[in-house]
């Protein structure tokens, strides 16, 4: 699903990623760990080109999205991201946070379809009649909004926050915010979700509710790439654990092997500190 090939990234003279290769298969839960400042966030943010890579390829569903000429917005629709600090839209209510992207991109697609149909009718009337080309389907605006709202309500119900639909994010607790942020990315029906330390900014008593939601997603087969310091969670949920250090992947293994039989010296040292 994602094929990272020789990914390199530097900030100024500072080389943060020095050639990272990783394959993420459909249904994988890849957990990324590593010391502070080792480039975990940078790696994750390169996956959806939130940071533009300086070299290498990121093949997502067959397209190299590191290539600056692709329309990255199109691919990001299928690649959700959950941030340490939630990044909910402060000027939108909870339900609008969830609905905004689905409605906006559907309306933009609708506009494009209308434009295409107009062009076809004007210049390709013959081809149309002969059935060589056909008009795009154009959904009704209200139907688009209604469907998005129903889906958002369903998602809110799933996390037990249906009574919070009309409030603003500032009134929510950290755990509630993060769960809304997760369903906001779910609303786009992504093929994969990237998590950057989703529980690091939370009070300890709220970590559980967020991890539980992520475990549910894992059980449903969602493909996930997760940067976290929660080793217990990694052991329980991961299909692969990745150790990033000094800008490269030092070790990659299934969790049992990774934690019980680490090979890299730096990883051994790291694990002895965090476990």
């Amino acid at each position: 699903m994602i094929d990272v090939i020789n990914l390199r990234k530097n900030f100024g003279d500072k080389e943060v990623l020095k050639g990272v290769d990783l394959k993420v298969e459909k249904g994988d839960r890849v957990v990324v760990i590593g010391p502070s400042g080792s480039g975990k966030s940078t790696f994750l943010r390169c996956l959806n080109c939130m940071e533009d890579p300086n070299g290498g390829q990121i093949i997502f569903n067959g397209v190299d999205i590191a290539d600056m000429s692709v329309d990255i917005n199109l691919h990001r629709r299928k690649m959700g991201m959950v941030f340490q600090h939630f990044n909910l839209f402060n000027n939108k209510t909870v339900i609008d946070n969830i609905m905004l992207a689905p409605v906006t991109v559907a309306l933009q697609d609708r506009k494009k379809a209308l434009r295409r149909n107009f062009f076809l009718k004007l210049f390709k009337a013959k081809a149309l009649k002969e059935g060589k080309v056909s008009l795009s389907l154009v959904a009704d605006k209200n139907v688009i909004k209604q469907l998005a709202r129903e889906n958002a309500e369903k998602l809110l119900k799933r996390i037990g926050l249906e009574d919070k639909a009309e409030v603003y994010p500032s009134t929510l607790s950290g755990g509630q915010k993060q769960r809304v942020a997760i369903v906001r990315s779910l609303a786009m029906n992504p093929d994969v979700i990237l998590f950057d330390e989703p529980t690091s900014a939370l009070d300890p008593e709220m970590v559980g509710e967020v991890l539980d939601l992520m475990k549910q997603l894992a059980k449903e087969g969602m493909t996930m790439v997760i940067v976290t310091h929660e080793m217990g969670f990694a052991r329980e949920v991961a299909t692969k654990v990745v150790f990033i250090d000094e800008g490269v992947i030092k070790e990659i293994a299934p969790p049992e092997e990774f934690f019980s039989n680490p090979k890299d010296a730096r990883l051994k040292e790291f694990l002895s500190k965090v476990l």
Partner: protein, 236 residues
């Protein structure tokens, strides 16, 4: 004191009996028109410039646009507005053969001028919005433009509303120079009354009071608007 009440009577006579109030109303209308339209034009120009200035700069086009915008802002902030009015009215438009009334030139110049100021206000407003808001929008597949319009700029406007209100107030005050290009504003109206009666004390006093009332009303309006926008800050 008897002297002063005689002056008041004189003012009254011109203001009420000789239709001085019509002139004042016209002046007030122009003052408000120039300030309001100026701010609206300035808001649109300022938002566009501010957006260009926060654009990522690794491509050529944004860099060129940025240069143009910097020049524009330096030009309009670096010269007195009187000079801008005079140049547009007596130099630029005659040169290109366009005829415009003083009020029209004032509308345009105040718009262009406040665009330069609003762009700086808006830029700091945009920069005060958490970068995470842009990332949140981009991460769900919204474009830079869409995220800017729907998420960042609304929050920026909320942050800068008091400053924008102050810009409006200073526009109101600065309109008093439009008489340089023959536009009738509040100052010009009272000046006219004063000239007719050879008595300026009361007309200018009333003028000052009207300016103060205008400014106080606007301040009140800003406060009310701020309060209604605070909704998304705490529990609704």
């Amino acid at each position: 004191m008897g002297n002063f009440s005689a002056k008041v009577n004189k003012f009254n006579d011109i203001f009420v009996n000789q239709n001085g109030y019509v002139t004042v109303l016209n002046g007030l209308k122009n003052t408000l028109l120039i300030a309001v339209i100026g701010l609206l034009i300035g808001f649109v120009i300022g938002t566009l410039i501010a957006t260009v200035r926060v654009l990522p700069k690794y491509k050529r086009l944004p860099r060129v646009l940025n240069g143009i915008c910097s020049f524009y802002v330096a030009l309009f902030r670096g010269t007195p507005i009187v000079a801008q009015l005079l140049v547009f009215y007596y130099v630029l438009f005659p040169l290109i053969g366009v005829r415009m009334t003083g009020v029209q030139v004032a509308l345009l110049v105040f718009g262009l001028n406040s665009g330069a100021y609003v762009s700086e206000i808006m830029r700091s407003g945009i920069q005060s919005v958490d970068p995470g808001q842009m990332e949140g929008g981009r991460s769900v597949g919204l474009s830079f433009k869409t995220t800017m319009l729907m998420i960042v700029i609304p929050q920026a406007i909320k942050n800068i509303l008091p400053t924008l209100g102050n810009e409006f107030i200073s526009l109101i005050k600065e309109t008093s120079v439009v008489s340089f290009v023959g536009a009738l504003d509040l100052y010009m109206a009272f000046n006219y009354i004063g000239s007719n009666s050879y008595e300026f004390m009361v007309p200018y006093l009333v003028m000052a009071i009207i300016y103060i009332i205008l400014v106080l009303l606007i301040s009140l309006g800003i406060k009310l608007m701020e309060r209604s926008l605070k909704k998304s800050d705490r529990r609704n």
